[in-house]
């Protein structure tokens, strides 16, 4: 293969790399942001579903006969949905804090990748110039080919642009690696903190049900006799409301 063909081949490769890298960097920015949002949504959904399940189980524990036909059922349902909505919005706000941090790091990474792309573009334009220079010199001075070749070797070939930018590319790559690790660590911390948020502690979601003493051992028979809604409110809704409020105060959420 001749020198010119190899030079052109290098130019083609550089052009392809430039195009590919541009597409990849844009796409990964978009996907990284979407991934962050989706991950938060999944975590919040799981938490809310778990809470909903535990509430349903607790309500059945208080009164297994409590259903749509029961008194105050609609009131109870409305309250439950309100509390869960509040629970969800608090969790979302909490997630957003971490997501903002992650998105900032993603942008920093995008800027670094843009710098990389600039270097690739520079290399490509330098390569184009070099090829043009070679063509011009060969046309103008065909007879003095040897001396021209020598000149080219002295000016360009001994200082290939890749060598100049090699170190810079390495530096940017290592910075990107650090940012990648940072994104992963923030994501892991977010997951951990969100799953820990508003939990009762070691006992999980078990609540101590306070029923009127005289009905304590005859729940099945007297289940309809006491005010189920009141018991549910006292034992399930109030503690959860308290936990949400405490969490809001501690984390300064709205």
């Amino acid at each position: 293969m001749g020198v010119k063909t190899k030079e052109k081949e290098a130019l083609n490769k550089l052009t392809n790399i430039e195009k590919e890298f541009f597409v990849q960097k844009e796409l990964s920015l978009k996907l990284a942001n979407l991934y962050t949002d989706k991950k938060s949504l999944e975590v919040v959904n799981t938490k809310v579903n778990n809470q909903l399940n535990s509430m349903t189980v607790s309500i059945t524990g208080i009164n297994p006969k409590f259903n749509e036909k029961s008194k105050n059922y609609d009131k109870m349902k409305k309250e439950m949905v309100d509390i869960l909505n509040d629970y969800e919005s608090v969790l979302k706000q909490f997630c957003d804090r971490y997501d903002d941090q992650i998105k900032k790091v993603i942008l920093q990474k995008f800027e670094l990748e843009s710098q990389l792309l600039k270097i690739i573009s520079k290399l490509r334009s330098q390569q184009e110039k070099r090829i043009k220079k070679n063509i011009v010199t060969s046309v103008v001075d065909k007879l003095k080919r040897k001396s021209v070749k020598k000149e080219i070797l002295e000016t360009d070939a001994f200082k290939p642009p890749e060598m100049e930018y090699g170190l810079e590319i390495k530096k940017i790559r290592s910075k990107i690696r650090v940012l990648d690790q940072k994104i992963d660590s923030i994501n892991a911390e977010k997951n951990k903190k969100v799953f820990e948020a508003m939990e009762v502690g070691g006992t999980g979601l078990i609540v101590e049900i306070k029923k009127p003493r005289k009905f304590k051992n005859v729940v099945k028979f007297f289940a309809n006799r006491f005010n189920t809604y009141k018991v549910i409110n006292q034992n399930i809704f109030e503690p959860l409301r308290q936990r949400i409020d405490e969490f809001k105060i501690i984390n300064k959420l709205v």
Binding site: L14, K25, M163, G166
Partner: protein, 60 residues
Amino acid sequence: MVGELNMKLGTVAYNNEIYNLDYMTSEEIKEIINKLELDKKKCISELKNIDLVKKSVEKE
């Protein structure tokens, strides 16, 4: 319904394939991101190969 919120993410075309992000889990999206990262690494390592080409040109 509580706890079943969805988000419209749309589709993404990559590597001759179309991915509908709304039907994918976050882990599946992560996989595509990992593939992209690998491709970026390949792009950068290809630059080194071009450097090698240059060296062979120098020798000639």
